[in-house]
Subunit: 331 residues, 2 copies
């Protein structure tokens, strides 16, 4: 690994190193890193395109995230958006803004982590940009594909349908608590923050198995429910005691002194999929998703008419309107 | 225009405003701004994909660039990459990192400037991300298309061919001098900095008319020559007295006390196209490009074998190896 700083090696040499460190490009890539633009074979079906940005000291701190973690997570958050559409990612472009005193080793680590996740899902790095900035800022664009007419959107839920979520919730915020030393640093929680796994196979199963709408849980369940409600012109009833929470999240919440549902509802960074499905399809999906992927799919509520708004049912049975949001970039 | 700050209106309302301010999506956009990802009809031919980032106080200063200028230029630099491939841009995704005390009016101005350029070339904004940061950081991904097998690349030049450039050079750096008060603020120079025009039609004419390699002049002629030389395993001879320089650039260089070819060779941000073509095609291209677009295309040198390196011929006739680079993000 190289201890040189970027201002010593310069941009052209850095781009060559990034290109040389990339795994061989798969079929479909006509021209990859190193020209003015990438050339790709056209998408099969509809193209899925999404872009997300992580900023140092906003989305991660360099003392809590190694370069490999930042590389992995930067890609994971965009892959999660493709998962929420039921799509398959194919390519990524990475724009990396870096302080000039950053070490080349950090950059090499960043791409090693990114490629580690990219190879897992056969995603090829095909281009990007490297620029100078005060804080590390990573923008990742992911291009993928989905069969024509088979994409899951936020709009599409109907009153009477079930509301379901993959995996478990609250681990993103509990991971943050663990990094901040507010609860014991359990590996499960730290990994949820540093190395989230996008639910790609799960998303495709949901799309082909009859789910009617979906969103990924990046900003907390409360935010995603508001997005699904607005897009689909529906309301929701969510049962707090049905939210899937791991033992580690429950313990972390107890140590921090917060109700266990709070990180699930308002924490964000869980990268699970929230979806709706008619009652018969919901049952089939639960067995199909767990059978094919090992990931649990849990009914956490139901779709209501828009006029009902978003309602939460406490463990006591008391029902109240949902208040508050999850993560907001500017608040 | 809204005087509110982003921390008052929040991310969800900001995204709604961005979506509502966008012109109607053209055909090809199945699903635009506001879901987890955009859905697009597949590219016709090969897809062109490129991504560029502008950072406040590195690539622009807010006292020299209004929000509309930043929006325009952020898109222009990526469109210029598509132009260098001979492609046609179709869609863009914009990731905007903003300080939370930024006014909503600034953001509205940014998108107004971006759309102004986007509509000119029928490019649709289909997605992106808005996050918090200390300095304004804009990443724009542009997706386009080019007929199969007809893209211009950096590789492809052969010894004996002509080296040509569109338009005039040096105006990017002279514009910077004008903004810094080092020379009179002539509109032509300021516009070159704030509102560069990507050479899209010119690029397509070059690709279909027999150019063998191309690059856009974003980092100065010296850098682009090195890139074309490395990619194509060739050398170049450039005649300094043939570099196309406007009267305004010549005057600015005289006021600043630098040779007029210096901003052309080392300045960058000119967003012209540098290309190579065999002798007969070069002549045809010159009349075709100026006839179709009004943009001059000028022979500035010739392609040499790789062993010759990159050589510059001064007005006196003295020939010397090219020294120095143009813009480097980290040096």
């Amino acid at each position: 690994m190289s201890r040189e700083e970027l201002r010593e090696i310069g941009e052209a040499a850095l781009v060559r190193r990034i290109r040389d460190a990339a795994p061989p490009a798969p079929s479909g890539v006509v021209l990859g890193i190193g020209d003015d633009a990438a050339l790709l074979e056209p998408a099969r079906g509809w193209q899925v395109a999404t872009c997300d940005t992580l900023v140092e000291n906003v989305h991660f701190r360099r003392d809590g995230f190694g370069p490999r973690d930042v590389g992995w997570k930067s890609l994971a958050v965009s892959l999660s958006d493709v998962a929420a559409m039921g799509g398959t990612p194919r390519y990524c472009l990475v724009s990396l803004a870096l302080p000039p005193d950053m070490s080349a080793a950090w950059v090499e680590g960043f791409y090693a982590g990114l490629h580690e996740l990219a190879e897992r899902y056969e995603v090829a790095l095909v281009g990007g940009d490297t620029v100078r900035a005060q804080a590390v800022t990573v923008s990742v664009t992911v291009l993928g594909e989905v069969p024509v007419g088979r994409a899951l959107r936020r709009a599409g839920a109907h009153p009477g349908e079930r509301l379901l979520v993959t995996g478990t919730l609250g681990k993103g915020m509990a991971g943050l608590w663990a990094m901040e030393g507010r609860c014991p640093p359990r590996e499960e929680l730290l990994q949820a923050q540093r190395r989230p796994l996008p639910r790609l196979e799960e998303g495709r199963r949901l799309a082909s198995g009859g789910a009617t709408a979906a969103d990924d849980v990046s900003d907390g369940l409360a935010s995603e429910l508001r997005e699904l409600a607005e897009a689909g012109r529906v309301g929701f009833r969510v049962f707090l005691d049905r939210l899937p929470l791991s033992a580690a999240v429950r313990r972390a919440a107890a140590v921090v002194g917060r109700p266990a549902w709070e990180p699930a509802l308002f924490g964000g960074e869980d990268y699970e999929l929230l979806c709706t499905a008619p009652v018969p399809a919901a049952g089939r999906l639960i067995s199909e998703v767990v059978g094919a992927t090992g990931t649990p799919l849990t009914v956490v509520g139901e779709v209501l008419p828009a006029g009902e708004g978003i309602r939460v049912v406490e463990a006591s049975g008391r029902e109240r309107p949902l208040e508050g949001w999850g993560w907001d970039s500017f608040r």
